[in-house]
Structure formats: structure tokens, C-alpha cells
Amino acid sequence: MTKPSAQALRAEALESLLTEKGLLSSAQVDEVIATYSEKVGPMNGARLVARAWLEPAFRQQLLADATSIVNDYGFEGGQCEKLVVVENTPEVHNVVVCTLCSCYPWAVLGLPPKWYKEPAYRSRIVREPRQVLNEMGLELTDDVQIRVWDSSAEIRYMVLPMRPADTEVLSQAELETLVTRDSMIGVAQPVGVKG
């Protein structure tokens, strides 16, 4: 077994001190893990996207005022005091970042993946987005305009990806399985969309 990292050991030290003061418990930690693994995650955002693909009126509402929709659905997790949903089209591709920390719409996408919080993505996506997306497996043709959203205040962003072709027969639940976390950050297309 490898030795725990310095930060892991220091976290354990602070954990034990906080626990002695009654400020932290392992039950709290278990609850955090359960909440962000089971209840709060990209499955919530996928519900909104799949419904927007099926219902034009809901799509309009989602693009106009996503915050009320998140509140109506009662998604937990926070960080969506104001949510703005931006729509991908054949001409425009949106991608989300937070260069200053790692702001992310927890209530609809869960906690961010590791790469979203690390310097490579945060430094480069605002400067060479086409190159970074390409490296991440998303090739966009030169005529597609890229819009990068750097979450510098309390507004949070989610991408409404394009609906894959030939999915007219699919149900809402089936469509949800095509909507990946990465497609709602804007670093990938949903399953079934080329590019």
C-alpha cells in the first residue's frame, strides 16, 4: 500500500480535530458522498435536455429562464442560484469553464470532473478552445463559431446540446441516456451526434 499523500494526512488530522469539537462526523461525510453520487449529478441535467428535445415550449422556457425550472424540479446540490442554458446549433458551439476557481452548476451536473478543476483546462479553453476540444475528441468544422462561457460570478452555465439524428422514436428516458455530462459542459456531443 502506498503512503497517503501529505494533503490526505493533513485532511485526516483536521478531520479528527473537528470531530473532537463536534464540528464534523463520519455520518456527515457518508451523507455528502451519497448525495453527490446518487441524488445530485448529470442525470438531472439530462432530464432537462431530453425534455427540451421533445417539447419545444419547454425548450423555450429552459433557454429563457432555466433558474425557475431548476427550482420547480426541486434539484438539490446548490450552485444554481441563477442558471443560464446556452444552446448548441449547427453554427454555434458553447463550452463552459471557470478560470478563477471551478464554478459549476452542481444542481444539474453534480460535482465537476477532476479535469474541469485542473490548470490545463482552465488555462487553455479560453485561449485555444478549438485545439482543446479537438484534443478532447470533439472536432468542430471551421465554420462553427465557438462561444466560451467563463463563470466569473454566481451565474452558472449549462449547454443544451444538439439532438442526435434519427432519435424520433425514442422516449424521454431513452433520450436521457444519450445526454452525457461532457455534452452539457460543451466538451463533447451527445451520444449519436457526429463531430
Binding site: 478560470t99 490548470p119 490545463a120 479560453v126 466569473s152
Partner: protein
């Protein structure tokens, strides 16, 4: 502040590494650190997320890069707990060494001897605030961002300083992080989405970058030109 956290546009960090892509937490200690968020309001060591974010910006810059996201959080939390007098760094180190840490391990936290006033606890969890007067800009206005860096917390990234952009959305009033992080009150301001052309930011065509910026970060482009 011109800290290590202000990463937009910096060179040298290489390709995006997708290791651990599907893990909500990479290890239990990360969830432990996440759970420590509750200790802020409970101890009064910090009372708002602006102060918490600024504490993360103040950690040791090498640890900021080397210790990962929750390592940074841990550094910020330790900084604030020590500044508030809840623990000393010595007792945390002593406990860590007892658990197997090396006494020479790099420590992310950098508590200062004379911290800012803590400020009032927010009246509610929301950061939106009613404004007493109408916003100074409207959608379609051309603006130029301030060009000077500020010593404390701010949410104008360095790469967008002194740049011309266009307001594309107006978001009413929000608590000003620059003030709130330092215990100097909420001082709500109008917040706008400002869209910058990549040509303006980087001299390279082909995309736009939009940021959400407070009114005091902006001046009218007409007045400047």
C-alpha cells in the same frame, strides 16, 4: 490579487488529463474536506463563499498546483480556521505527524496574523440583492474593463483586464465579492454578461469569451475613446 488561481490564458499546463474522470471524489479524504464546509458557519471562521474563495486564492501557490482541488480547499479551510483562532497550525501539524505525515511536508494553508474583519453573516443564502438605482449599462453597450489589478479578491480575470467587450445580458444586483470577501459589506452592484471577441483578447479570430462582470469593473467605451 495576481495569484496562481488566475489561470485563464496561461501557458505550459499541457493537455487535459482525464484520469479519474468518473469519480465524484477520488478518495474519501476529498469528501471529508468537502464536508468541512459546514464548519465555517458553525465556528464563525467564515461567513460567505467570497471569503472562502479568497482563502483558497491565498494558499501556498506551489501547493495550489500540486495538492489538487480538495488540497486547495483544505488549505483555504485551515487558513480560515487558524485565523479565527479555532486551532493553531502547530496542533494540526502535530496531529498529522501522529497519523504518519512527514514534519517537512508542504502545507497549503497560509494564515495571516491580522486577518480582515469577518463581516456580518448574510441575511440569506442567496447572493442576489435589490438595487437602489438603475443599472448604468444596458444590453448592447460597449464597455472597457479596468486595467489595474487589485490587491485582494476580485472576479475580473487578468486576461480580461483593459479589454473592450459588449454587454449581452444584464443580471440585476448581486453581492460584490471584492468587498464581501474582506468583511467590508455586501455592497451589491449590477452584474452583466460581457462578450469579448478572441481577436481582442488574444489577437486570434474564431471565437468569443463571455464573462459575468460587476459594474465597477467596467467603464463606457464611448467615454474612453
Amino acid at each position: 490579487m495576481d495569484g496562481i488561481h488566475d489561470l485563464g490564458g496561461k501557458d505550459g499546463y499541457g493537455p487535459v488529463d482525464r484520469t479519474g474522470d468518473d469519480d465524484v471524489f477520488q478518495a474519501r479524504w476529498e469528501a471529508v474536506v468537502f464536508s468541512m464546509l459546514a464548519a465555517g458557519p458553525a465556528t464563525g471562521a467564515w461567513r460567505n463563499s467570497d471569503r472562502f474563495r479568497h482563502a483558497i486564492e491565498r494558499v501556498d501557490p506551489e501547493a495550489y498546483l500540486a495538492h489538487g482541488y480538495y488540497g486547495r480547499w483544505l488549505g483555504g479551510i485551515e487558513t480560515l480556521l487558524v485565523e479565527a483562532g479555532i486551532f493553531t497550525q502547530e496542533e494540526i501539524t502535530e496531529r498529522a505527524v501522529a497519523l504518519g505525515a512527514d514534519p517537512g511536508d508542504r502545507i497549503a494553508a497560509r494564515p495571516r496574523p491580522y486577518p480582515d474583519p469577518l463581516g456580518e453573516a448574510p441575511q440569506d443564502r442567496s447572493s442576489r440583492r435589490a438595487l437602489e438605482s438603475a443599472p448604468g449599462f444596458v444590453v448592447g453597450d460597449s464597455v472597457i474593463t479596468v486595467s489595474q489589478s487589485v490587491p485582494g479578491h476580485t472576479r475580473l480575470p487578468a486576461y480580461a483586464r483593459g479589454k473592450r467587450g459588449v454587454i449581452t445580458a444584464s443580471h440585476d444586483g448581486w453581492v460584490l465579492p471584492d468587498s464581501n470577501a474582506h468583511g467590508r459589506g455586501e455592497q451589491p452592484q449590477p452584474l452583466y454578461t460581457v462578450c469579448f471577441d478572441s481577436e481582442t483578447l488574444w489577437g486570434a479570430a474564431g471565437f468569443t469569451v463571455s464573462l459575468d462582470l460587476f459594474e465597477s469593473y467596467l467603464q463606457s467605451a464611448e467615454e474612453v475613446s
